[in-house]
Every structure is written in C-alpha cells, then in structure tokens.
C-alpha cells in the first residue's frame, strides 16, 4: 500500500487528480485502446473532479479514449432527481469534459430486473478489458461503494440495502429528511474493485479517521470492507492530515517520510499537448 498524506483537502484532491491525469496520459489511449476508470461519488472526490476538469479545459487532458464505470447508484430514485448519481456525474464531471456518452457507464437503479442490470454491468467491465484504475472513497463505517459492514469481501455487483450509518450520512442531501433517503442501491462488489489493476482510495476529513485506522492498521475484516485492499497488489490511499488522526504516529511518520518518492508519480505532470 502507498499512503499519500497531504496537508489539506485541496492538496489531496490535486495530488489525486494529477495521478489520474498522469496514468491516463502514460497509457497513451487511442481509438480501440481505452483507459478504463472506475469512479466514485460523494463530497470527497469533488475537488479531484474539479482539478481534472481544469486540466481538460486547459487542453492538457482529453477523455475521448477513456471509459468510465461508476461504483453505484440508488435504487428507485428517478434518474433526473438532483441527488441521483447520474445527476451527480453529469453536473460534476461529464458535462465539463469530452467523454463519449457511450463510454460512461452508470448502473440503472430503475431497471426492471435489478440483478440482470448488475450482471450486465460486470459483463461490460469484462468486455472493456477490466478496470485500469478504480478510484473510490470510504464511508464512516469503512465501506467501499455501498459494500456495507458484513458484505462479502468476494462480492460482485449486486443490490444492497443501506446501513443506518450510510442513510444518516446521506440525509444531508435530502433536506435532512430521513424518510426521503433511498434505502437500497446497486453497487459494485468488493471483489469487483479488487479485480482492478490499480485502486486509489480518497479519504479526507476527521470523520473518516477511524475508518481509515480500521482499514489499514487492523486486520482484513468484512465489517470494514475497505480493509480488503490490504490484499490488493497496487493500492494507493490519498488522504489529508485530518484523516490520519486515528493512526499511529509511527505509521504517519513512515509514510510522510516517503513523500519524496510518492511525488515522483505526479511530478512532472504530463500533458496531452506534449504527446502531440
């Protein structure tokens, strides 16, 4: 595992965006050879999306040969509802970049057969050649996507009922009214994300600190599903100072000491202008 610690949210977002940018450009995507990206939602990745859009608008990064697969979507929420993950992705990312709409995949929470929708999603990932880089976040209860505590660490894309912690955390997006928060979602499984060639988890804020501690300093445990990535060969955790508050001083010092190595991954920052 790489644990990359930045001083604050903005710097963490920027580091993550630079990493994604470099990975896409170094891959040299072109017609018929797409870079596949797994994408998250929520408040944590917003800063990262903003930076990626900035690189795109400056002409340094194009998504024309990038395929994306989102982690999850609520069940039963109309697609054009302002809190659906379709709306989130459109407003915060897709509408600002040049991705081909046919390459942007998000689970349909209103599909007539939800399990079939999940199976087709897994098939599409396979047909795309698997995921090159899966970007995710972590819930306060240590979940990745909507793989709530107790989810099998070998799970695939499926329907999940949301845990109370998650519903409470999401209430702020539904006017604080718990009755309006969806109770079910379609989500990629822990196993689905583990299949990715590389995984990057973004964790910022003190309220995520305990989950980060459980995920990397304790054992692999299905009650804290992010801990599964201890067994993935290439995982990067990108976080800010606040998210490290529950870690041992020794852990933090060790990884901070490695920052000069980590920074070589984002400096120099590549640009598609040079490639041309």
């Amino acid at each position: 595992m790489r644990l990359v610690i930045l001083d604050n949210y903005d710097l963490a977002s920027e580091w993550a965006a630079k990493y994604i940018c470099n990975r896409i450009i170094q891959f040299k995507p072109c017609q018929g050879r797409y870079f596949t990206l797994g994408l998250p939602t929520g408040s944590t990745p917003l800063g990262c999306y903003r930076k990626l859009i900035e690189y795109h608008k400056k002409g340094d990064l194009s998504f024309r040969h990038v395929k994306t697969f989102n982690m999850d979507e609520y069940v039963g929420l109309p697609r054009d509802h302002p809190e659906s993950y379709h709306s989130y992705m459109w407003n915060n990312f897709f509408k600002h970049i040049d991705i081909d709409p046919n390459n942007a995949h998000i689970l349909d929470g209103n599909a007539p057969d939800l399990q079939a929708e999940c199976d087709v999603f897994e098939k599409k990932i396979k047909e795309a050649g698997g995921i090159d880089l899966f970007v995710g976040g972590i819930g306060p209860d240590g979940h990745i996507a909507f793989n709530e505590p107790g989810s099998s660490l070998a799970s695939r894309t499926r329907l999940k009922t949301l845990a109370m912690d998650t519903i409470l955390a999401n209430a702020k997006y539904f006017d604080g009214d718990l009755s309006k928060v969806p109770t079910m979602a379609l989500t990629v499984g822990v196993g689905t994300v583990m299949d990715a060639r590389e995984v990057m988890i973004l964790i910022t804020g003190a309220h995520k600190a305990f989950a980060l501690y459980k995920a990397i300093e304790e054992g692999v445990n299905h009650m804290w599903t992010v801990s599964a990535f201890q067994q993935h060969p290439r995982t990067i955790f990108v976080c800010d100072e606040d998210a490290t508050l529950e870690l041992r001083v020794k852990t933090v010092k060790y990884f901070k000491g490695l920052m000069h190595v980590h920074n070589k991954l984002v400096d120099p920052l590549y640009s598609m202008k040079e490639e041309n």
Partner: protein
Amino acid sequence: MPSNKSVSDAPVVQFTNCRILKNHKLQREDLWVREGKILNPEKLFFDEKIPADLQLNCKGSIIAPGFIDVQINGGFGVDFSLATDDVRPGISLVSQKILSHGVTSFCPTLVTSPPSVYHKVLPQISVRNGGFHGAGILGVHLEGPFISKEKKGAHPEQCLRTFEEGAFQDLLATYGCLDCVRIVTLAPEMKRSSEVIQELTSRGICVSLGHSVANLSQAEEAVQHGATFITHLFNAMLPFHHRDPGIVGLLTSDQIPICQQVFYGMISDGIHTNPAALRIAHRAHPKGLVLVTDAIAGMGLAPGKHTLGQQVVEMDGLNSYIAGTKTLSGSVATMDTCVRHFLEATDCTVETALEAASLHPAQLLGIEHQKGTLDYDTDADFLLLDDRLHIQATYIAGDQVWRRNTFTL
C-alpha cells in the same frame, strides 16, 4: 429502459462559454438547442448518448430569453392604428426592426380608434411565430376606446366609448373581431365593466386597467373579476394618495385572489416616470413589473411629426407629445434601452432587469411554459448580450435572426 436511439436527426447546437439566465440567476452553463427548442443535455447524454453537432463559443456573453413587448403602437414610420388596406407590410417592418432591440415576441397595440379602424385592421392581423422574417406576434393589445375621458392622455376624445348599454355586446360590436386579441385596456370605473372583464377573461383575453380615474376598491373589484394587468403604471391614472391609493394601490393590495397576480407595465425610458417612482413601484412589487416600450411610429426615426392613430405627435428625439401640447404620447425608447435604464435607475440585479422584459410578460400572458425562460423544452428564443446589456445577437427558434455587425461566434 431508455432508448438509445436518437430522438431526432436535427442538428444539436451547443452554445458554450456563456452565462445563461436560469432559475432567476446567471449561471455558467452551456445552452443546448435542437429543432427550435431548448434541449436538456443531461437527457441527451444518458438517453441518446450523442454529442453536439456544432459548438459555438459565445465569448463570455450573457444569454437571456428574448424580450416580449406587450405594448407597442408602431415604429420606424409605421402606425398600427392607421386604417390601411394592407397592414401586413407595416407590421412586418416593425417586427423585423425590433429584432435588433432584443424583442422576439410582441403585441401590436391599437390606440383608441373609431370602429371602422378596428373592423378594417383587426381581421388582417394574425398570431404567428417569429423567425427570420421578424419577431413573433402574440396577439393584439387594444388600448381603448373604453377608457376615461379625464385620463385619455393622447387618445382622441371623440372616439371614446362606454359599454353601459350592451356591456360585452357593445365591446364586440366596436372591435368586430376578437380572434387575435390578446390584451384589452379599459377603465374599470365604467358601468358594467365587471361583466365585460369577466367575459373577456373567460375568452382567454388579458384585461388591463388604464386611462382611468378608478379608486382602489373599483380597481380591486376589477381584479377580482379577472383583470391582471395595469397599463403603464402612474401614467393616465389618479396619482397615489395615502387614503386612496387608486390603481397604484393594487401593487400592495390584500384583496387580490390567492391564485392571481397583478402585473403592471412600466415605460422605463427616463421620461414617463421619475426614477424614484420607478423604484417605489419596483420595491413594492418586484415580481409584477413588466417593461413595455409603448413605442410610437417615430421610434427609430429622426425627430419630426408622426401619427398615433387619429392624432398627430411631435417627436424631438427623446420625447413625444401630442402636437402643440405637453401631453406625453407614447415613447420612442427601444426595449433594450428600457432594460438598461431600468437596471441603472433601480440598481437591481442583471437577472431582475432581464426578467422584467422576458419572464414577467410571459407570465402575464400565461405562456411561461413556452416563452420567457430558458427552461428545457421551451422555445429557443434568446439573446446574446454583453455585460452592459447591449444586444449582440438575437435568436428565434434557435436561428440567428439578427446580429451586431461586429459580433461573430
């Protein structure tokens, strides 16, 4: 399952690098247009999965809904109240010329005239969509002849009428044909006005109060029978009095029925109303303010003499009076000038100024689901403006029908 098939083969145009007036705010968003309507790009992305066919860089321009002028008597030498055998060339000329003022829809207005004029002119005018030929015609505004003698303003006294004998039948006999009539201005203190207002409203015609000496309760009664507009507030009505605010009192009246709103026209040319009065009205009832030009034949022309129906008016560049008098008779301001003057005089937001000339007149006429906004699926009638609200280009149904010489996308 949403279909992946394209809903239409028509080209999708994306206007980028602009600020659009949406949900009462200027927002950094792109505007998408297809087949004359404003398109929902999110639906296009997820349902049809197609990109835009054409992207146009608006260079930071403001995009606002096209202006709607509900009171315009003519312009460029054309007087709508003149009894000609063929009014269409005149209407076409004006509808073409006002595109450069940002007006994409309008109501040609006829001032008080003898019945022969109405019988000759009204059947020749029809509601029609705008386009390269000019701004769209929403219907006719009939200002008079059922108005007060004391507040006739520039209207000819000999043509004033009442309907106390036959109420609505009198009105119908005077006008002849109501097919294309959209607004009627009358004085509510006239006997039997309530029945007339009720009948007009039931036929979908907007009733406006003006050229009147009505007191507040007479005005409120008219509103309760269906009147929803006030013609050029302050002008040609009793002045505000603290014990009887008259028609002006409708702005803050508590007798307006719940589902109804009173709108009021203001000629914001710096002449018809003192800026302080404009500010008082705006602050009292900001959502009801509708900018109108009340433009006359001399608008757009050099100073001189022109007609306004049966009257002769003198225009000296800014002001227009009945020849030989100091009675104001319409204005020569253009709609975009009115919007800019309104912005400056009230120090309101750009959004407020733009909505007073687009959203509010659309709401008055009950067409806000189609015009007056940039909401998805509404008509793509819009303007590109610079930061000081000068029109750079005018679009109707997604087509560029006018642009400033120095402006290209």
